[in-house]
């Protein structure tokens, strides 16, 4: 299955791209997508403990199941306002 991964702010800078397509083996979770990302971009690993995640533009959890075509976002700590 194929998912789109969105990265923002410093996480995007570390990976060098704000949008990546990942092939994952089923069944997949948000955590599988993250592991696939860390395998290719080990420099993003430091965010695992402090980031938030979203699936299809709703906050989610690392353990959440994902389906083919989903958009998974990894979000650094926010600094709006």
């Amino acid at each position: 299955m194929r998912v789109t991964v969105r990265l923002f702010a410093r996480l995007r800078d570390l990976a060098g791209s704000g949008e990546l397509v990942r092939e994952l083996e089923e069944p997949a979770t948000v955590a599988s997508a993250w592991r696939s990302l860390v395998d290719e971009y080990p420099q993003v690993a430091e965010y695992e403990r402090i980031m938030s995640v979203a699936v299809n533009a709703d906050y989610s959890r690392m353990s959440a199941a994902v389906r083919d075509g989903d958009e998974i976002a990894f979000l650094p700590p926010v600094s709006g306002g």
């Binding site: 969105r6 923002f8 702010a9 410093r10 800078d13 402090i50 980031m51 938030s52 979203a54 533009a57 709703d58 906050y59 976002a73 979000l75 650094p76 700590p77 926010v78 600094s79 709006g80 306002g81």
Partner: protein, 173 residues
């Protein structure tokens, strides 16, 4: 996201929404108008503008660059409006956040709350900015003399009741 039309304010070409994420310069008047509309029973309107500082942590700031995960940022701001409505029944809240490049002195966020009494409207405004900093996926990169840095605050978790309670506490202090 609301794209500006050339030569017009972002609020001119449409009914102004209660929440917005836009690259266009913000209008405090616009959010005040949103919460004031049809509210002749309102005895109070409170507002807040967040502006780009020219100094931060001893650095001279040249400009800020804001980025958002727009669809989730809009949902987060809608959630804040809904939370405020539950907390202060009858209070109407509107907030607009700007993204893109902002120079010192420009507004990054404008918030207005209208209601029957001053206490609730001040509280709702303060609550809104505290919650934005907790749960809305927007980030700023500070450009200063000699470099730039992404600022990172709270790990966003709308279900974190302790964070929400903290926002409520400072809003009602």
């Amino acid at each position: 996201m609301t794209a500006p039309l050339p030569g017009r304010r972002y609020t001119e070409h449409m009914a102004v929404p209660a929440v917005a994420v836009t690259t266009a310069p913000l209008s405090l008047e616009a959010v005040i108008d949103v919460v004031s509309a049809g509210g002749s029973a309102s005895g109070a309107v409170a507002s807040f503008s967040g502006l780009v500082r020219d100094h931060n942590q001893g650095r001279t700031v040249t400009f800020l660059e804001y980025e958002a995960y727009v669809p989730l940022a809009v949902k987060g701001m809608e959630r804040i409006v809904s939370e405020a409505g539950e907390t202060w029944p009858g209070v109407r809240l509107a907030l607009h956040h700007r993204i893109g490049r902002l120079d010192p002195g420009e507004a990054s966020i404008v918030i207005a709350a209208a209601g029957a009494h001053r206490a609730d409207t001040f509280s709702a405004c303060r609550y809104a900015i505290e919650r934005v900093k907790q749960i809305v996926p927007i980030w700023k990169r500070e450009h200063f003399e000699g470099g730039d840095v992404w600022l990172e605050g709270a790990t966003a978790d709308p279900e974190d009741e302790a964070a929400r309670a903290q926002a409520l506490r400072v809003s009602c202090a």
